[in-house]
């Protein structure tokens, strides 16, 4: 059977799922290796369960970081699967299940803008991507058509934040009360707001139902309204009869022929038996999540590749990055004791303010950093009549309220539940050489595979961006008529963390960046390694720069582009 495989894909999340889907759709035989177990939101998701039904009211623990019902198997710490640090602070979020992190991710799918692919040209810093917006645009269209999304009127898009065209996007839900106030305040500040492009259906698509505005997408969506890799990619791929899946398969080495220039297959651990196995194919695609891709390549050492496979540039593991994130919790006095109303919506932000300062305006403002940040109302934290949870809702309501109990406490809860909310900002990061991973020479995981060792350092430019983000949030609060209850940026700084710990926004990308030259990059523009002709990387590892837009749509668009390249090569070779 193994011999029939034309392509081995490692990992079934955003990047791997898309790869398997595109290849099998074109009739290519694919073997998918997935470290975790089978997972299907249709049966595995807990949608309507209330906190009351879970241990500890469903609060996060070291076992389930984002709560008992979160559709994630893994988290920052996994028993027997450690990682280490060589400097700075970094936390590595992992999801080990079919579909990877797509079952619980926020479904925010903004497109990168034209400027985002040429940061070097714009600022003289970092490097440009080897392709332009025009090259990737058709792939954005195609990915969006498959995953389905709601988004704003594309004609109202602002500079460098392009939006999905009308024939693809679906109508967004109305903004919530707090978001209307947010929009009004932004308008006063000269900042445009619009629906946030989000991979949630508001109308049925390909047998998937429309959202019913009631449950939290991070628990998974069993009606298929929220995109996940299993629903949109893997199940249809299985229907083609071209996809084989091995779950419980932890890949750790790319096998090559004697020349070291051709990948022949993958060696993996069967997690059930602990046995080491090998599978072979014409092409190998790594998509186990950015950090794991770099780890596998660095662990794939051989005589021909003493520093790790596809690493002649020495760039594997380098230039990793994460989104900057900070928030304020604010109090809206007009909403004290407000009449209860349903604020669930799609459980994600309905609207946002894309980055608004460019060119001269940016210079005039003194915003001295590359890229920018976006603003939104935090759907998870604060009260705002959202789903009650201990830390995220009540922890904020009780913050700083010392000695409160009895009748006064009960009154306090009624007054503030609807009138406290979070406003947040996600910012780009200036990719720098002090953020990287290497392989720990001593520490191994429970199967004996050497683990990654991370080094993290925010740059001065990030610091300036962070200060600016925080300042804007305060202005926004003021324009919303709100007082600030808590300031996450301030708290982080007091805790010596600057913005937050690297990796904690869970948008860690890079480690195998693409470029125009084998000297300063690992991959070419089709995500193909410069050194090993038939080896591709299709998760977040190829990213060159890190902007304020969440990365996953771009991961999937690049994965599809890489898949097209493989399909073309298979055809050309008449294989």
């Amino acid at each position: 059977m193994a011999d029939e495989n034309e392509v081995i894909v490692v990992g079934s999340g955003a990047g791997g799922g898309m790869m398997a889907h595109t290849l099998t759709d074109a009739g290519v035989n694919v073997l998918l290796l997935e470290a975790g177990r089978r997972y299907d939101a249709e049966t595995d998701a807990a949608m309507f369960q209330l906190p009351m039904e879970a241990p500890l009211r469903g609060e996060g623990t070291p076992d389930k970081n984002d709560g008992y019902f979160d559709a994630n198997i893994g988290g920052y710490e996994m028993p027997g699967q450690p990682y280490t640090l060589s400097g700075g602070k970094f936390r590595w979020w992992r999801s080990r299940q079919l579909g990877g992190r797509t079952h619980h991710f926020g479904r925010q799918v903004p497109r990168y803008g034209p400027e985002d692919f040429k940061v070097h040209t714009m600022t003289g810093r970092e490097i440009d991507w080897p392709f332009s917006y025009d090259d990737i645009e058709p792939y954005y269209d195609r990915v969006e058509t498959i995953i389905g999304l709601f988004g704003p009127d594309p004609d109202k898009a602002v500079y460098n934040s392009p939006q999905s065209p009308n024939h693809i996007r679906q109508e967004p839900p109305a903004p919530r009360a707090s978001e209307m106030l947010f929009a009004k305040a932004c308008e006063k500040m000269g900042i445009k707001t619009m629906a946030h492009p989000t991979a949630i259906l508001t109308s049925p698509l390909n047998g998937r139902e429309a959202c019913f505005y009631a449950t939290n997408c991070i628990r998974g969506c069993s009606i298929g309204a929220a995109f996940d890799s299993v629903t949109a990619y893997i199940k249809p791929a299985e229907e083609t009869g071209k996809l084989s899946i091995i779950t419980g398969a932890v890949a750790y080495k790319v096998l090559t022929d004697d020349s070291g220039k051709r990948a022949t297959g993958i060696r993996y651990i069967d997690t059930e038996t602990g046995e080491h196995r090998e599978v072979f194919a014409k092409f190998v695609v790594l998509a186990p999540g950015s950090m794991e891709s770099a780890r596998i390549l660095l662990n794939s050492k051989s005589e021909k590749a003493p520093d790790g496979l596809a690493n002649s540039s020495g760039m594997v593991g380098k230039y990793i990055s994460d989104t900057m994130f900070t928030s304020l919790w604010i109090h809206i006095p007009q909403l004290d004791y407000a009449p209860p109303h349903n604020e669930d919506g799609v459980s994600q932000p309905h609207i946002y303010a894309p980055w608004w300062l460019h060119g001269e305006e940016k210079e005039k403002d003194g915003a001295d950093f590359s890229g920018g940040y976006k603003l939104e109302v935090d759907p998870y934290r604060g009260g705002r009549f959202g789903p009650p949870s201990m830390k995220a809702t009540f922890g904020i309501m009780l913050h700083g309220r010392k000695g409160l109990y009895g009748d006064k406490l009960k009154d306090h809860m009624r007054r503030y539940y609807g009138s406290l909310l979070g406003i947040r900002t996600l910012g780009g990061m200036s990719v720098n050489e002090n953020c990287y991973l290497t392989i720990d020479p001593d520490v191994k995981d429970k199967w004996g595979i050497p683990v990654p060792k991370f080094h993290w350092q925010w740059s001065d430019e990030d610091y300036r961006r962070g200060v600016h983000m925080n300042k804007t949030l305060h202005e926004l609060a003021k324009n919303m008529g709100a007082t600030v209850v808590r300031d996450a940026f301030d708290e982080s700084r007091k805790a010596g963390k600057f913005v937050e710990t690297g990796g904690e926004t869970n948008h860690e990308i890079g480690g195998c960046r693409m470029g125009t030259s084998p000297k300063n990059s690992v991959l070419n523009q089709y995500s193909q390694t410069w050194d090993v002709d038939n080896l591709y990387v299709a998760d977040g590892a190829p990213f060159v720069t890190h902007v304020e837009k969440n990365p996953t749509l771009t991961i999937m668009a690049m994965s599809m582009r890489a898949a097209d390249n493989i399909i073309e090569r298979l055809k050309e070779n008449n294989l």
């Binding site: 623990t61 019902f69 028993p79 009549f385 789903p387 009650p388 009780l398 109990y405």
Partner: protein, 211 residues
């Protein structure tokens, strides 16, 4: 757990220190042989791959009877009955507090230590009024002691231990209570119901906000 280990437990040590400070009688330890018990018991967490459709608490509840009785009194001081919702004890929130402080996770283990030792300190105060446990005091005495504690926390004059004890107690009771049907109805959570469309806030709310 052997006698020896128990004596070495941090709670025990802290109680002894406190007693030295408070000048309480050495008979205290004989009166409260279980106050720190099981704090060190390793229990099992639920692991990373839970069956979300059949949630189970995988650890035993560990508070003793007197601790539970004390907490029941305190729970109703924190969340009393009024015309909109019942008190904490009506909804058995103390049982949830027991589940919480018995859980084998760091946050909860820290809370356990704070709460068990905080209850011990309240017992010491009860001793001064010739009651064996806080819950043996009459309602006025209980309310007075608790109010004094709350006022000192509010004024910032409470010890760090008392401050944390009070903060966490309130947090866990509030968390337990306002996630019940009655608690959610009290504050006005009306979601978790499927809808055809999401049309935004009602007119009256928009008016409040001027949007």
């Amino acid at each position: 757990m052997s006698e020896n280990q128990e004596k070495l437990s941090p709670n025990r040590r802290r109680v002894l220190q406190l007693m030295a400070v408070a000048g309480a009688s050495a008979a205290y330890l004989n009166n409260y042989p279980n106050s720190g018990a099981k704090a060190q018991t390793r229990q099992k967490g639920y692991g990373q791959d839970v069956d979300v459709n059949n949630p189970v608490v995988t650890w035993d509840k560990t508070l003793n009877n007197n601790q539970l009785l004390n907490l029941t009194v305190i729970g109703d001081l924190i969340i009393p009955t009024d015309d909109k919702s019942p008190s904490a004890s009506h909804l058995n929130i103390t049982d949830f507090v027991d589940e919480w402080v018995s859980a084998p996770y760091p946050e909860q283990e820290k809370d356990r230590e704070a709460i068990v030792s905080g209850l011990d300190r309240l017992n010491i105060q009860a001793n001064r009024q010739d009651a064996r446990f806080f819950h043996n005091l009459n309602a006025d005495q209980q309310a007075a002691i608790f109010d004094t504690l709350a006022k000192s926390v509010e004024a910032g004059s409470a010890s760090a231990d008392d401050d944390f004890f009070f903060e966490r107690l309130v947090y866990i009771y509030v968390g337990g209570f306002y996630t019940t049907d009655e608690g959610m109805a009290d504050i006005g959570y009306v979601g978790n119901v499927p809808m055809e469309s999401f049309d935004g806030p009602p007119e009256e709310v928009r008016k409040l906000l001027g949007v």
